[in-house]
């Protein structure tokens, strides 16, 4: 028999848990006052595993501690909303007992460190959020922001991120039907990868994360747990510096084939009635998913880590609790259905393991090799997470715009379309399977993507928008504009806007000027979604997008969805034809501040963002929807103004365009609430009559005809400009 002291020494040798020191606390991203709070909650010092659990729950990424106060101000309700923020994803009613589940989430930090896997697992994470609720994903989008094209890192990031998104989504089998790609020096040290997914569900078959019932089995589903991604959420809550290469092991590795099987198995499992509640393992893996289910259900959770399927040997409790291995779920099982549930996972060759149970009391207990490795009050982990009212400074009003020199309009257009920001992006979206599931009605390229609701004649339109230059100059108007542009992109294809998801990417919130951008943008977004009746139903905040103290442009990406009740009656999908009239709806004042022309041609980013008149936005959008039948093709006017919009419509159809205007403000101004419509002469007359009755500004600005782009007195062959437009992205950014 071994002496007791020897056995104890042996135990210590196995666990080798480090001492809790100030350095260790700081390395976990826990501030001194937060640690003091932990001591108060526990009435003792935490051990190593417990410290890891607190850091996982209390970091910015999981706790929203800097943003919560402001997020609460966003409009999140409406008759169309079935589930607002707080669950895995938001849900809106699309009629006929069906609903759409959707969300957008960032994977910025990991994508910069390891672009392929970072972007791939970003797609995987958002797909999981959607199918965890019981929905089959039907569409994906992504909004990408990279540094300037000549920066040494940019090309590698573009290739890696695009291949990662394609590699994951294509294999999983969800069409990637839209998104954005932009380049700006402010992203040189921090790229942004915002991934959106939407899924279809029957409104009476939604699954939520709140656990219920005491003593119910907690089941682990999916892939095995490895050491990848340990500490990922904490990494994503800090700025970058020159130690970035050391952070590579915090990035997870994706396996879309396992995700596909996990989705199929999960949906099959749900149909058996075995699922009481379910939560995917995303950031902070096992920790976050277990705490969330317990917290929402008012229960405690005990986990036996010996039963967790493991990919690597000798994993410590700390590693298992903080691993961000992908393609995993946690659920509370209806015990009478265990055999059926197990059979589903065996069919799909996935792990199914009972790893714990629900407890009546407020405890989060972690057992490993017979020892208790953590014993924490569960509610405190999320409920008592820190919340900050960070000091913020209102962004100073922009300086008035200096004179803008005149420019030949064709030269201006050529400069825009040869910039990777405004050139055609087919190099990107042809790497994404945008047709799988055979319901893609409108492919990526221009404006919103449209996907039919399988087996019906309904469709959903998807768009993702933001103009970061505007937000920087004027966070409130910029926030409004992002929503307004999304609204216009939806209405331009004939869709009735339904709801919004926001992905708020900002710099370090501990700086009052950054916090001021955040507060301003939230104010603008809130006003816009209220006025345009597209409430926020889900979202994500990504802060600390800074490197060596330099922040990104404030980038609150707006993902929005709209409903097309009947494709035949409502979808605006026609193409421009020879002879169509070009009609401009909305008022043109020629606002050039912060415009694409200014940035790309004159390399200036000055002046104010355009003002957004939300009443006009709504009226003009309603006008488009009410007159769908008279409109052959339609696009919203945004960056690049009338000239770029007219060129894009013409190029897509292979027909030239002749605009009467020659002056820079009219052609390149970025006034809001405007659409360009193509239709035949009779329809144009009818539209003008209708607009006249309502007092909506409308004017004929030219005609689609011939084989040239003619802007006032200047022209160029369509073919030449199309060549520039089609090749510049690949030539300059890849």
């Amino acid at each position: 028999m071994k002496p007791a002291n020897e056995a104890a020494a042996g135990d210590n040798a196995v666990t080798q848990e480090p001492e809790i020191t100030e350095d260790l606390i700081a390395a976990h991203g826990i501030k001194p006052d937060e640690y003091a709070n932990i001591l108060r909650i526990l009435n003792r010092a935490p051990n190593f595993t417990e410290l890891g659990i607190f850091s996982a729950m209390w970091n910015e990424h999981c706790s929203y501690k800097s943003s919560k106060k402001w997020l609460r101000t966003l409009p999140t309700e409406g008759p169309q909303v079935i589930c607002g923020p707080g669950e895995n994803a938001g849900i809106v009613d699309i009629g006929d007992g069906q609903a759409l589940v959707f969300k957008m989430e960032s994977h910025n930090h990991p994508s910069y460190i390891e672009p392929y896997q970072g972007a791939a697992t970003g797609v995987g994470g958002i797909l999981r959020d959607v199918f965890t609720m019981g929905a089959r994903p039907i569409a994906a989008m992504n909004s990408l922001s990279f540094g300037e094209v000549d920066h040494p890192k940019t090309r590698r990031l573009v290739h890696g991120v695009v291949e990662g998104i394609g590699g994951y989504g294509n294999c999983f089998g969800v069409p990637t039907i839209g998104g954005e790609v932009r380049f700006h020096s402010a992203y040189n040290g921090n790229c942004l990868v915002n991934a959106f997914a939407a899924g279809l569900i029957d409104a009476d078959k939604i699954f939520y994360s709140a656990a219920s019932g005491v003593g119910m089995p907690v089941v682990y589903l999916g892939a095995k747990t490895g050491r990848d991604g340990v500490g990922g959420a904490t990494m994503a809550s800090a700025e970058f510096d020159d130690t970035i290469e050391e952070k590579r092991p915090t990035v997870q590795v994706g396996d879309p084939f396992t995700e596909k099987r996990l989705m199929e198995a999960t949906l099959e499992l749900m149909a058996t009635g075995a699922v009481i509640s379910i939560q995917d393992m995303g950031a902070a893996g096992l920790t976050c998913s277990a705490v969330e289910m317990g917290d929402k259900g008012g229960l405690g959770i005990r986990l036996d880590l010996d039963n967790v399927p493991q990919r690597e040997e000798n994993m410590t409790p700390y590693e298992m609790m903080l691993s961000e291995s992908q393609e995993r779920m946690l659920m509370v099982l209806e015990p009478s259905k265990e055999a059926e549930a197990r059979a589903v996972f065996e069919k799909w060759d996935l792990d199914f393991a009972i790893v714990g149970e629900t407890l009546p009391e407020d405890r989060f207990v972690i057992m490993h090799q017979g020892a208790c490795k953590a014993d924490l009050p569960l509610r405190a982990l999320s409920g008592e997470a820190p919340e900050y009212d960070r000091p913020w400074e209102e962004t100073a009003p922009a300086e008035p715009l200096d004179d803008v020199p005149g420019i030949d309009p064709i030269d201006g257009l050529r400069a825009l379309i040869s910039s990777p920001n405004y050139a055609a992006k087919q190099w990107v979206y042809e790497q994404y399977d945008h047709m799988v599931m055979a319901d893609t009605v409108r492919a990526p390229g221009l404006g919103a993507g449209v996907v039919r609701v399988h087996g019906t004649n309904k469709a959903i339109a998807f768009t993702s928008d933001v103009t970061p230059r505007y937000v920087k100059a004027n966070p409130v108007e910029g926030g409004k504009q992002a929503v307004a542009e999304a609204y216009r992109n939806l209405t331009a294809v004939g869709a009735t806007p339904l709801a919004t998801t926001d992905n708020l990417n900002f710099g370090n919130p501990e700086k009052p000027e950054i916090m001021g951008q955040f507060v301003g943008a939230i104010k603008g977004i809130g006003e816009a979604v209220a006025a345009l009746d597209m409430p926020i139903v889900s979202g994500n905040v990504s802060l600390y997008n800074e490197t060596d103290g330099v922040g990104i442009l404030p980038t609150p990406t707006i993902g929005a969805v709209g409903l097309i009740r009947d494709i035949d009656a409502e979808l605006i999908s026609g193409q421009v034809r020879e002879g169509h009239v070009a009609l401009l709806i909305g008022e043109t004042k020629g606002h050039l501040g912060q415009s694409a022309l200014l940035a790309e041609v004159f390399h200036r980013e000055d002046g104010d963002a355009p003002q957004v008149d939300l009443v006009a936005e709504k009226r003009h959008g309603d006008f488009i929807l009410a007159n769908r039948a008279l409109i052959k093709a339609c696009t919203d006017l945004s960056d690049g103004g009338l000239a770029l919009a007219a060129f894009e419509m013409a190029e897509a159809a292979g027909v030239g365009v002749h605009l009467e205007a020659h002056d820079t403000p009219t052609l390149f101004g970025e006034d809001q609430a405007r659409y360009l419509v193509a239709c035949n002469f009779d329809e144009a007359e009818a539209l003008m009559v209708e607009a006249g009755k309502l007092g909506i500004p409308i004017e004929t600005v030219g005609r689609f005809t011939g084989h040239a782009i003619r802007l006032g007195g200047s022209d160029a062959p369509l073919e030449d400009l199309a060549q520039i437009y089609r090749t510049s992205f690949e030539a300059r950014a890849t």
Binding site: N170, G173, D255, K347, V436, R452
Partner: protein, 222 residues
């Protein structure tokens, strides 16, 4: 026509293929890859697109070892019809039902876009609904669609009129622009483009309809 559409764990065009068969009037049964036999009376087996087992190594190689693949080979051996699309084509080459191999695209990238094809032979139940030399538009979506065969096999395929479809503007580096090939008995077709994504006006093109319709006419169930 009784069609059996195979479902590997990573198939993701199985539903799309079933819909295309159904639109042509077929009775469709979905068949799980772990099954070891096809449903009684199967006229045609559809091996759909997707990533059968993740395709992290050679595409289709693991699927070719699934229990159902032996039944597909036996079905073809009895003179049964088989249509393999995209990953399904890769699986058919791995089972040996069709010659050649699908390598990584020449540009090393996944390619998803509509492409123009020419119908090279109408002497098959798959292509009899087209005119000889007809140009059709059908989407591709693959990372490994670069069809390679040795010269002797290519000469044989040409001599036996077994090249069903060629790309007009070769997107992936395939030998002799080959987009689809037939078996010696002309009852097995493997092709990289997705005809099931071109059967509905909402897809933006309907050039795939003639393939499913011709099959349906040729394979009237007893």
């Amino acid at each position: 026509m009784r069609a059996s559409v195979i479902v590997f764990p990573g198939s993701n065009c199985d539903r799309d293929m079933a819909v295309a068969f159904e639109r042509a009037g077929a009775d469709v049964t979905m068949v799980w890859h772990k099954d070891d036999h096809l449903p009684e009376g199967t006229d045609i087996v559809g091996v759909p697109g997707g990533f059968s087992f993740g395709d992290y190594l050679r595409c289709g190689a693991i699927a070719a070892k699934s229990p159902i693949s032996r039944s597909i080979v036996a079905h073809a051996g009895r003179g049964g019809y088989v249509l393999g699309v995209c990953n399904g084509f890769q699986v058919l080459t791995e089972t040996g039902l069709l010659p050649g191999a699908l390598m990584r695209n020449a540009n090393l990238k996944f390619i998803c876009k509509p492409v123009d094809l020419t119908v090279e032979t109408t002497q098959s139940a798959f292509t009899s609904g087209y005119r000889p030399g007809q140009r059709i538009t059908v989407p591709v979506a693959h990372h490994d669609g670069n069809y390679q065969v040795d010269e002797a096999t290519l000469a044989l395929l040409e001599a036996e009129d077994r090249i069903a479809l060629r790309y007009v503007d070769n997107p992936n580096g395939s030998t002799a622009d080959i987009a689809g090939v037939l078996s010696a008995n002309r009852r097995v077709l493997g092709m990289m483009p997705h005809p099931e994504r071109a059967v509905d006006a909402a897809h933006g093109g309907t050039d795939g309809v003639a393939m499913f319709r011709a099959l349906s006419e040729a394979l009237v169930s007893a």
